[in-house]
């Protein structure tokens, strides 16, 4: 087990390193942010001073090594537009995105598992058809359409804050996170419901379920205890790998709801070519993904000893 964890961790670090290098090269290709020409050109001396300030006057490989060194100390540099430390921007937005992600995951698991179990247990009933039709529809609709629908019809009503809202209005986080969380959750909830239905149907055919029923256990115990536990495995896998996609969805959702998270930070930085923020947020998202898949793999190896040998 120890050996397995070590090998997986080494792979994760390699992926992280190469990904960082790629992002760095990518943003370098974006071009020199301080060059200007024409009648209102910035004097060359000031251009040079700006480049020196952001460390862009050194050769790219040197910049990369310096960046890595700073990164290990938690320093992500300062942003091009307002010279704020990027680490502070991340510190201000990451908790919001984490809250959004956790709320979304809770919503999608509760809705998805419940809908999947009902559809499987009452197969071919009205409820099964309802679940199948709704999940198909939700998988077809893009996240931003669902977000727009909610902004247009639900925002500003009852506990849901208006979008956009003025600076003076203070809303507790649990009210602010509700609609974006639901938006982010709904498509994955549909996927989970389908997965859960499929795996539940499979498990319900298994011998040990027949045994459980033959022993005279109540249907509630058979479904809730024996069938649930095994049919949850694909759901756990899916939730683990969907975290990366969740972040992609968070960019859209946060932008629609103008939610102060990492995704909104990234979408603004990309529009403004604010490279230090782009690099930092992409590294953050890659890091999160690599860490999550490492945890999922280790959990798997723990649950199923055969995997450790591969």
């Amino acid at each position: 087990m120890g050996k397995f964890i070590l090998r997986r961790a080494a792979q994760a670090i390699l992926v992280l390193f190469v990904a960082t290098l790629l992002i760095f090269i990518a943003t370098f290709v974006l071009g020199d942010p301080f060059s200007s020409s024409g009648e209102k050109a910035v004097p060359p001396a000031i251009q040079a001073a700006n480049r020196a300030k952001f460390g862009l006057d050194k050769p790219v490989p040197v910049q990369f090594v310096i960046y890595l060194g700073n990164l290990l100390r938690g320093d992500f540099g300062i942003d091009f537009n307002q010279s704020r430390p990027v680490s502070e921007l991340l510190a201000a937005t990451i908790p919001n995105t984490l809250r959004l992600a956790i709320v979304a995951i809770l919503i999608e698991i509760v809705i998805g598992v419940a809908a999947g179990v009902i559809a499987a247990v009452k197969r071919y009933s009205f409820w099964d058809v309802l679940v199948t039709v709704t999940t198909t529809l939700f998988i077809g609709i893009p996240v931003f359409v669902i977000g727009i629908l909610l902004v247009a019809n639900v925002s500003g009503i009852g506990p849901f804050p208006a979008v956009p809202r003025s600076f003076t209005v203070v809303v507790p986080w649990y009210q602010e996170v509700l609609l974006p969380g639901f938006t982010l959750a709904i498509i994955d909830a549909a996927f989970i419901a389908r997965l859960m239905r499929g795996s539940m149907l499979e498990v319900l055919r298994a011998d040990y379920i027949r045994t459980a029923r033959a022993k005279g256990l109540s249907e509630r115990t058979v479904i809730g205890k024996h069938a649930m536990r095994n049919s949850l495995i694909p759901v756990v896998t899916y939730t683990g790998i969907s975290l990366g996609a969740l972040f992609g969805g968070a960019i859209i959702t946060e932008t629609i709801f103008q939610y102060n998270g990492v995704g909104y930070l990234l979408s603004r930085a990309i529009v403004n070519s604010n490279a230090p923020i782009i690099i930092a947020v992409v590294i953050f998202s890659v890091f999160t993904y690599v860490l999550m898949s490492l945890i999922v793999d280790i959990l798997y190896a723990y649950l199923d000893p055969r995997i450790r040998l591969n």
């Binding site: 792979q11 077809g140 359409v145 925002s155 500003g156 499929g198 859209i252 979408s267 992409v282 890659v286």
Partner: protein
């Protein structure tokens, strides 16, 4: 099933017609009838109502994409500032946008770009993913290790984040959107293919081919690929819809397909200023519906294909 169909099938197999005795139309005769693999798949596909609905939807999309100049009453780019934000009417079926452009024409032309990006990016991802995945799975060893690590790295970038970054670096154009979507989606195809390859590499019929001295290229292309490609193909069909949504999402964020090309995501995004204005919902409802129609159409076909290719899988997931 009529006897003429069975004669057609026999003819297709190169059997002389004279040998075919018209069978009684019974269930037993139907199962014994010699038909090709594709005819068999088509038969099962055709029986699936949802799959056929999907096929009709996809056909509509492709026909609309090809015929767009002939079925649009206006130039989709033509602005008319005297006629902005008009609700749907006989002149403008889907209304007009904030610059007075005809929304119906915009959506019809948007189909074209959606099909080019959706089908183009998925075809590219298939080409790259199948080639790299198949060689990695068949050869194994160092090549497999290298490809697998590269896949890990590509997989570490969330789909949309990777696409955003690549489009931003390469610039806004239809080609760069396609390249970006290929870069973020080939990995899944590659992984699927590699897994299939690993499983089939040890199959008995492959060993038989190897023992009679068939070269690896022939074994892979003629023997393994036809058996391994089914799940990859099914996945690809679904991912055409995913690619269309991704393209629309990029446009929604303001990058990707250039602003002068009518595109569904941008039409939705243009509507965001009028979200809470009563009576202006037509601005985003029609383009959103077009996107949903596309994803659903391709997803139905993919589901139907999955069931038709492997009847054992029917009903699971």
């Amino acid at each position: 099933m009529t006897s003429s169909t069975s004669a057609d099938a026999a003819g297709a197999l190169g059997l002389p017609d004279a040998t075919v005795t018209p069978p009684e139309p019974t269930a037993a005769a139907e199962t014994r009838k010699p038909i090709g693999q594709f005819a068999d798949i088509w038969l099962r596909f055709r029986r699936n109502k949802l799959a056929m609905t999907g096929l009709v939807m996809v056909t509509i999309l492709i026909v609309v994409a090809i015929l767009s100049p002939f079925i649009t009453p206006y130039d989709a780019k033509e602005q008319n500032l005297l006629n902005v934000l008009q609700p749907p009417s006989a002149n403008h079926w889907f209304g007009t946008d904030s610059l007075g452009r005809d929304l119906y024409s915009g959506i019809v032309y948007g189909t074209r770009i959606a099909m080019i990006v959706g089908i183009g990016s998925v075809a590219g991802a298939l080409l790259v993913g199948v080639t790299l995945g198949a060689t990695a799975g068949y050869k194994g060893g160092a090549w497999d290790a290298v490809i697998s690590r590269i896949m890990d790295i590509f997989l570490a970038f969330p789909y949309l984040v990777g696409a955003l970054l690549i489009v931003r670096v390469l610039g806004n154009s239809v080609t760069t959107v396609i390249v970006a979507l290929i870069s973020v989606s080939w990995v899944v195809t590659g992984r699927l293919m590699r897994g299939q390859m690993l499983a089939l590499r040890e199959a008995e019929y492959v060993e038989a081919a190897r023992s009679i001295g068939a070269p690896s290229s022939r074994i892979v292309i003629r023997h393994i690929l036809p058996n391994a490609i089914a799940p990859v193909f099914v996945y690809s069909f679904t991912s055409i819809g995913v690619a269309v949504v991704a393209m629309a999402s990029l446009s929604y964020l303001g990058i990707g397909v250039p602003a002068d090309i009518p595109e569904w995501g941008r039409l939705v995004s243009n509507a965001s200023n009028f979200l809470q204005t009563p009576g202006k919902a037509f601005l985003w409802i029609f383009p959103s519906a077009a996107i949903a129609f596309t994803t659903l159409g391709f997803a139905f076909v993919a589901d139907g294909l999955r069931d038709a290719l492997d009847p054992k899988l029917r009903g699971s997931n």
